[in-house]
Amino acid sequence: MDSDEALYSRVKQGDMRAFDELYARYASRLFGFLRPQVASRADAEDLFHEAILATLESDEVTFDRGSFRTWLYRIARNLLLNRVRSRYRGEAALLKVGASGEDDPPPPVDERVAMGQMLRALDGAVGRLPETLSDVYHLRSSGLSYEEMASVLGIPLGTLKSRMNQMVNVLREEMKPWTAR
């Protein structure tokens, strides 16, 4: 199987089969990273389009093995931040999840319902995470390694680990009413 970097080189030479393969690898993962962080599906599709095209057009970048993914997410994240900051003025554009009664105490219900509530509570808690921790959550959920995340965010590995712990602690704290049952 060709590496991402080999496919990238072939796409730049006009090989559309390589593009199809690269697209198949990242359609779900990158879109899954972008979609929860913007208000509409159309916005996520626009960002996805811009991120892929910008990464392919980045002539100054020479990719080592394994670095295509890092660059793709770095560019996607920058585009996302630009859009969120300029168009929606910060928090208004972030997740619309979490509005469904996460402040109410959880009723005593069966396991399946309790699980559903826990997951909604998780969405709400993720939506309220500050930007630095939200980045960590979404990048990790997209399957990036610690090293790749640190590279995307441009921070040392130690800082990333610290943010990861912070993020988990915040989520644990927010979800306590639903997990302590």
């Binding site: 796409v11 730049k12 030479q13 006009g14 559309m16 593009f19 199809d20 697209y23 359609a27 779900s28 879109f31 899954g32 990273f33 979609r35 929860p36 599906r41 996520a44 599709e45 996805f48 389009h49 892929i52 095209l53 392919l56 057009e57 999840v97 396991e111 699980m115 826990m118 997951l119 998780l122 969405d123 979404h138 990790r140 959920s141 399957g143 990861m164 712990n165 993020m167 988990v168 989520l171 644990r172 979800m175 306590k176 997990t179 302590a180 049952r181």
Partner: protein, 140 residues
């Protein structure tokens, strides 16, 4: 271990921030408690897919992106030539080419001699100029 303690730690377990001891305890519990295991699997699926089923851009968005990439990187004659010149050549082809060149270099002189033989020179026609010069010297 109490299931509520497990539930509280599942998110930390998923993001691999638990200490080794806690992690081992939790894993031992998950093996024996189907309720907690189901809850963990649901949490994992939810986190990995952003709270929704596997989601990809629409077909229209895919085609739009594909067309943009095709327009941007459409092969021109210059690009085709560059691609041909920089195409990867397998090692065995390189070895075969090298062997052919060596063989050609070794065999070239004999082939050339076979194709263009030198004209034969008869013995009688040979002139030994050095000897004649030596005999012509007179020593007194």
């Amino acid at each position: 271990m109490d299931c509520s303690l497990i539930h509280d730690r599942l998110i930390a377990y998923h993001f691999a921030t638990l200490a080794d001891e806690e992690r081992l305890e939790l894993e031992a519990h998950l093996v024996s408690c189907t309720g907690c295991l189901r809850r963990y699997l649901a949490l994992k699926a939810h986190v990995d897919h952003g709270g929704r089923a596997e989601d990809v851009p629409s077909e229209a968005a895919r085609l739009r992106l594909r067309a943009a990439v095709q327009a941007r990187f459409r092969p021109t004659p210059a690009r085709r030539l560059r691609r041909w010149l920089t195409r990867p050549v397998p090692l065995y082809q390189g070895v075969a080419l090298a062997a052919f060149l060596v063989a050609a270099a070794v065999l070239a002189p004999s082939v050339a001699r076979a194709l263009h033989p030198r004209p034969a020179v008869r013995f009688a026609e040979r002139v030994d100029t050095a000897r004649r010069t030596a005999e012509s010297l007179t020593i007194y």
